[in-house]
């Protein structure tokens, strides 16, 4: 029997497949299609300190093998999350991870503090990489001092596993990873979306209301894979690979590059059952390659 369990700091995942924040709602959107509990865990939609309406429509532009989004962290705020959404998450007995974002360090701290007391939320993922908000978000994740400051401040109030989600829109992602590791992060996840743009030439207009947006989907996979490889070599904490993963082969590539777990994002929009297919595909790969423990794949790239 193949061993699929992996560890992320104190978290024990039944398998390495997680869902990327903002692509999986709060899990219930997918209950019709899959047994959400069969996943290693779910990372739910970002929560901010206050209610956010998000950006105006249009928020999406399809691009070759991917999409740009400019949702802008639409959510009802942390108090609503605690009161109304958290109770609905109790039905999931796998690892439930909250994604935290805001426009100020104080805001991040407020959300993290409120989530710290929720027993069923086993970790938070600090989103310092959202490209779709005017203030905060990616601004924190694109310089070492600001990434350090927000990570350190949240570390002080958050006792459980702290994952920091990194932006690819930087010169050296490994430097940012090292900075958040030094500031107390227990794991890093990468990559968030790449800043991009789409233009409607017929109308001479940008497609998105925000002009620029975040690129995701298979189009970004080679960039993500390269960054995961660079970061995994640089840091000692676990790395979670994200970026265009839509098959078991993609997931395994990220693990070979050094990821201890992976997140499936945009592919959930195309096939809401893709995550369970990826888990089955990983088992199949392990059988074909006579691998008993999925941990043997982590960083297993042969050079």
């Amino acid at each position: 029997m193949a061993k699929l369990e992996v560890n992320l700091h104190k978290l024990k995942l039944s398998n390495p497949v997680l869902t990327a924040s903002g692509t999986f709602g709060y899990g219930e959107e997918f209950d019709d299609f899959i047994d959400v509990n069969s996943l290693g865990g779910i990372i739910v939609k970002a929560t901010t300190s206050r209610h956010r309406e998000g950006n105006p429509y249009p928020r999406m532009a399809e691009t070759p093998m991917g999409m740009l989004n400019a949702v802008g962290l639409q959510n009802k705020g942390v108090d609503y999350f605690v009161e109304h959404i958290y109770p609905k998450l109790l039905k999931y007995n796998n690892c439930v991870i909250a994604n935290v974002s805001d426009s100020t360090v104080e805001g991040y701290v407020e959300v993290a503090e409120k989530l710290n007391s929720l027993e069923h939320i086993s970790a938070i993922e600090l989103n310092i990489s959202c490209p779709n908000v005017k203030e905060g978000g990616m601004a924190f994740g694109t310089s070492c001092p600001s990434a350090t400051a927000v990570t350190r401040a949240v570390r002080e109030v958050y006792d459980k596993t702290l994952i920091v989600k990194l932006s690819p829109n930087v010169t050296s992602i490994a430097e940012i990873a090292l900075a958040v590791e030094a500031a107390g992060a227990d794991a890093v996840s990468l990559i968030n979306t790449l800043l991009g743009m789409a233009i409607d030439a017929e109308r001479r207009k940008p497609v998105l209301s925000t002009i620029t947006g975040g690129l995701s989907g298979p189009a970004i996979k080679p960039v993500a894979l390269r960054m995961v490889w660079q970061v995994a070599k640089a840091v000692k904490i676990p790395v979670i690979g994200i970026g265009g993963i839509s098959s078991a082969a993609d997931a395994i590539e990220f693990m070979l590059a050094g990821a201890s777990a992976i997140q499936v994002g945009t592919a959930n929009f195309v096939d809401p059952a893709v995550t369970v297919k990826i888990i089955a595909g990983i088992k199949d790969y392990m059988q074909r390659h006579k691998i008993d423990d999925v941990n043997d794949l982590i960083g297993g790239l042969v050079l």
């Binding site: 692509t23 999986f24 309406e53 928020r59 399809e62 999409m67 639409q74 929009f269």
Partner: protein, 269 residues
């Protein structure tokens, strides 16, 4: 209604005009129950420039025959691939998605469709007809070539046509047709699907007649199940997903779609 992902077989593919096809789909197992106004997200196979599914209204659903139809407008590579499918090939659909129109009983109702906006109106007209409503359909297009399936719709009610160039029916826009401008407005409900500008104009006309108007929106979407939050429309209750809260909305719910509520809101402020 549980959402499903199904492989359906293409039973027939009829070309309606230069850029519209009607696909008839079937399945060995029973199709899930569907209501007028709901839609399906269709997977495109073998398209290198697209990744996401494409949403289409359920054009027809025949429970007894276990078949359904989609009206496909060819716009880009994805829709062209779907429109070129041969009978016998397989199409992967996620359905049924979203909420349907309100089905009235024994009323006089008006359905207004612009271009491919007629897509959800056949299934709707059929259900309304079955529930004893007197159905009138007003179909608009740029030119005669854009008016599709009028003879099919005639079996379900009175059909009125407008074209912008006057090549079929009355010349002008749907909002200029006499049937929607009667002083003694006979309809108790208006249903509309088409371009946003047309739907807004029709909603305003209905509002002027003090009649509810349900519109079916077609915002760009990725997932179709309320996960991506890309297809939002501004409502008086904040941004709502067209895929899960719609695609059918009472126009009164939508911000900027009615005169009365806008005025009331500005007075409140």
């Amino acid at each position: 209604m549980k959402k499903q992902i199904l492989d359906l077989r293409v039973l027939s593919n009829s070309r309606l005009n230069h850029n519209h096809n009607l696909l008839e789909l079937g399945c060995a197992d029973p199709l899930p129950a569907m209501v007028p106004g709901q839609f399906a997200e269709v997977l495109v196979e073998g398209s290198v420039s697209t990744y996401l599914r494409r949403p289409f209204s359920i054009h027809r659903y025949d429970k007894a025959a276990n078949t359904m139809h989609l009206l496909i407008k060819s716009v880009g590579e994805g829709t062209k691939k779907i429109a070129s499918l041969k009978p016998g090939s397989t199409l992967n659909l996620m359905l049924p998605l979203g909420n349907g129109f309100t089905i009235t009983n024994n009323q006089e109702v008006l359905l207004v469709g612009g271009g491919c906006g007629i897509a959800p109106l056949y299934f709707l007209a059929e259900q309304l007809f079955r529930k004893g409503n007197r159905v009138s359909l007003l179909i608009g297009g740029r030119s005669a070539v854009d008016i599709m399936l009028a003879s099919e719709y005639r079996r379900l009610g009175n059909v009125y046509i407008t074209t912008e160039d006057g090549t079929m029916g009355e010349k002008g826009m749907v909002t200029q047709h006499p049937v929607i401008n009667q002083a003694d407005f006979p309809f108790s409900m208006v249903y509309c699907c088409g371009p946003d500008g047309m739907m807004k104009a029709v909603a305003h006309l209905a509002e002027g007649k003090k009649v509810d108007c349900e519109v079916s929106l077609e915002n760009t979407m990725a997932c179709g199940i309320g996960a991506c939050l890309c297809c939002v429309v501004e409502t008086h209750q904040g941004n709502q997903c067209v895929c899960t809260e719609g695609p059918v909305f009472n126009s009164k719910k939508l911000k900027g779609w009615t005169r009365e509520i806008e005025t009331a809101c500005s007075l409140d402020n």
